[in-house]
């Protein structure tokens, strides 16, 4: 395929240039010209007001679809650490259930390591079936055995969709599975839906540092594999007497050329526990100095919440990185998110915009944070926050 500008139709308005995320369009003799940076995303095709940009099919375009009709069922890789299933697995079962229902098929979970009791939890969270391998090789996380066994199971059972957490574990070994099986993998999806017409998985993810969203398809290969960040999807319903099938899997001989010699748990990241918090009070550069967080801490304390921050506040050295929310920090989804002195850059918003209620306190009424805020107060946080603290104390008394 090629994307081409019909120069006789091009009026030189340059709308396409702004639309191109790859700076692949330049002006030549007052006409748009597409250069070798083009990634065929078609953004320009749809924005051109003159219809001057067209897609041209080329010899050999039609990739012969692999036989994808045998692939059925939705799978969730349930990662575990120190024997416990990570909470992202339950969230994946939530969205996996919806996808499986839309495709009128079954939902299975895959668990390597941990115990059969934990495997049963996956059934209660919505899995119809759990492929479970409790072998000792899975006690610590090593990429090779995980990718080899998961690839083998996928080849045997042919699921059409496989979901995993976009965690250090999922993001590390799932790409090997995609490479082995020659299929597509979409990282860090924020929304997953079935295209009613084609049955394909529509995978939405942020790109360019969160500045744009892209919908990704994997039309000709199976399974369609996606990773999802923790706290992006809602958990399904927990039904303690739901029944399902536990299928024990033999690991056989798995190659493993890496070895975990020590596992160190660091205190600080545990104490913060942003991803489990129901209330987060976050501060940004608007705090002005590190002492501002003392004030926020008092507010957070009254609401049984915890402290978050923007990257700017972390970069200033006012608070530890483990508190950072956003693209390069944590994704959070609390009931209440209070942003104090945070402008609301997209990189921050991608990490918190799915919070149930967002409260923004900022002295600049133009700050983009107000676009996502349920409640916005335009004012100096050093007036507003102490007032809130006082009133909350009164309400408690």
């Amino acid at each position: 395929m090629r994307i081409e500008v019909r120069s006789e139709k091009c009026v030189g308005c340059q709308v396409c240039i702004d639309s191109c995320p790859y700076t692949a369009i330049v002006m030549k003799d007052d006409k748009a010209f597409i250069n070798e940076y083009c990634q065929f995303c078609r953004a320009c095709v749809s924005v051109c007001p003159e219809g001057a940009i067209i897609e041209i099919a080329e010899e050999g375009d039609k990739v012969k679809p692999a036989d994808i009709s045998d692939y059925k069922g939705v799978w969730v890789f349930a990662e575990q650490r120190h024997g416990y299933i990570a909470s992202v697995a339950f969230e994946l079962l939530g969205v996996g259930r919806k996808l499986a229902d839309a495709r009128k098929t079954t939902l299975s979970a895959v668990l390597f390591g941990s115990s059969e009791n934990e495997a049963k939890e996956l059934v209660k969270w919505g899995a119809d079936r759990v492929y479970f391998c409790g072998d000792a090789i899975f006690k610590d996380f090593n990429d090779e055995p995980c990718s080899e066994l998961l690839s083998r199971l996928i080849s045997e059972h042919k699921p059409e969709i496989v979901l995993a957490g976009a965690t250090p574990i999922g993001r590390s070994f799932i790409p090997r599975v995609a490479a082995k099986l020659k299929t597509g993998l979409t990282a860090d999806c924020t929304s997953l839906e079935i295209d009613a017409e084609t049955g394909n998985l529509l995978q939405v993810r942020p790109a360019f540092g969160g500045n744009i969203m892209a919908t990704i398809l994997c039309p000709n290969n199976r399974p369609q594999i996606a990773t999802v960040r923790p706290r992006v999807m809602k958990r399904g319903e927990y039904v303690s007497d739901r029944s399902g099938e536990i299928i024990k899997v033999e690991s056989g001989n798995l190659l493993c050329r890496t070895k975990v010699v020590e596992t160190v748990t660091e205190e600080s990241s545990c104490k913060v526990n942003l991803q489990e918090a129901e209330v987060i009070v976050s501060g940004g550069r608007g705090l002005g100095d590190a002492k501002g967080f003392k004030l926020l801490e008092e507010l957070a304390g009254l609401l049984d919440g915890t402290l978050g921050s923007s990257r700017a506040a972390v970069d200033e050295g006012w608070i530890a990185y483990s508190h950072q929310v956003g693209q390069t920090g944590k994704t959070v989804c609390p009931k209440i998110y209070i942003a104090c002195g945070i402008s609301g850059a997209v990189q921050h918003l991608v990490g918190m915009s799915s919070s149930d209620v967002i409260i923004a306190i900022n002295k600049n009424q133009e700050a983009p944070i107000f676009n996502v805020a349920t409640y916005g107060i335009v004012g100096d946080l050093y007036d507003v926050v102490p007032m809130m603290i006082k009133k909350l104390k009164e309400a408690k008394a």
Binding site: F141, P175, S353
Partner: protein, 260 residues
């Protein structure tokens, strides 16, 4: 010992802004930089070179302009560079990118391959592990420290959500590195001279011995259906009155939500 470092030239996403009227990216004047994580990978390679005398080859797959990125790494101290460039590679997703890199690296020879944790344009973090799979070698992602390295093995710290793991691997191995691993050195004067003079070796699809149906758009299982601006879902509630009245109303709402 041979070390291969994979780098990518990316738009500086910190400079990318969105045009609120057209909902499109404003890319005018946005500079191209070496993916920040990759400069840490280059530094990690150079530190191993300083210790063991290894040869460091830096490669990138990209359009001809990506040559500039390679020159920067020569200035830092890379021994050799390769530009993997061919019209046929355009439109590659991570599968097709990893395939092309694997073919090139296999031709160059390697004991250790270093990649950045992720590229800041796509943020996928997939290319490193996929290259390792194609080459049938182990990999360790999110490396924050190299504790020890010998001819046969390496020991590193791998960053995890709740701390870190100390992991050992036999060589050859591929590592992807996080920023905490080091502070990249500045180019030396001698390096800058070398960078200016260097002739950049290009490798096209034939030179790397890749099959045409596995590269570029054709070799890519995933397709971009469309791109759009992130939407702001809001169910906005208005607070009115003086600041004090607004705070009063808010605290009442908080009370309802939280049962203060």
């Amino acid at each position: 010992m041979n070390i291969v470092v994979c780098i990518k030239q990316v738009p500086d996403t910190a400079e990318v802004r969105i045009n609120p009227e057209t909902n499109t990216l404003i890319r005018e004047g946005v500079p191209s930089i070496i993916n920040p994580y990759d400069t840490h990978a280059v530094e990690a390679a150079l530190q191993i070179k300083d210790k063991t005398g290894a040869k460091v080859t830096v490669i990138t797959m990209g359009p001809p302009q990506a040559e500039d990125a390679l020159r920067e790494t020569i200035a830092m101290g890379a021994d050799d560079v390769r530009l993997i460039s061919d019209r046929a590679f355009a439109g590659a997703d991570t599968w097709a990118t990893s395939y092309a890199l694997y073919k090139a690296i296999d031709k160059i020879g390697f004991d250790i391959i270093l990649c950045g944790k992720q590229a800041i344009d796509g943020d996928t973090a997939q290319v490193g592990p996929e290259v390792a799979e194609f080459l049938n070698i182990p990999h360790i992602a999110y490396v924050r420290k190299v504790e020890d390295v010998s001819d046969k093995s390496i020991r590193v710290q791998r960053l995890m959500d709740d701390g870190y793991d100390v992991v050992e691997s036999s060589l050859p191995v591929l590592l992807t590195v996080v920023k905490e691993i080091n502070i990249p050195r500045l180019p030396s004067l001698k390096g800058k001279m070398a960078a200016k003079k260097a002739v950049i070796t290009k490798m096209d699809i034939n030179a790397i011995g890749a099959e045409v149906e596995n590269v570029g758009l054709k070799g890519s299982p995933t397709q971009v259906k469309n791109i759009f601006a992130p939407d702001a879902k809001v169910d906005r509630k208005v607070l009115s009155g003086t600041l004090e009245e607004q705070v009063d109303a808010l605290v009442k709402e908080l009370g309802v939500m939280k049962c203060v």
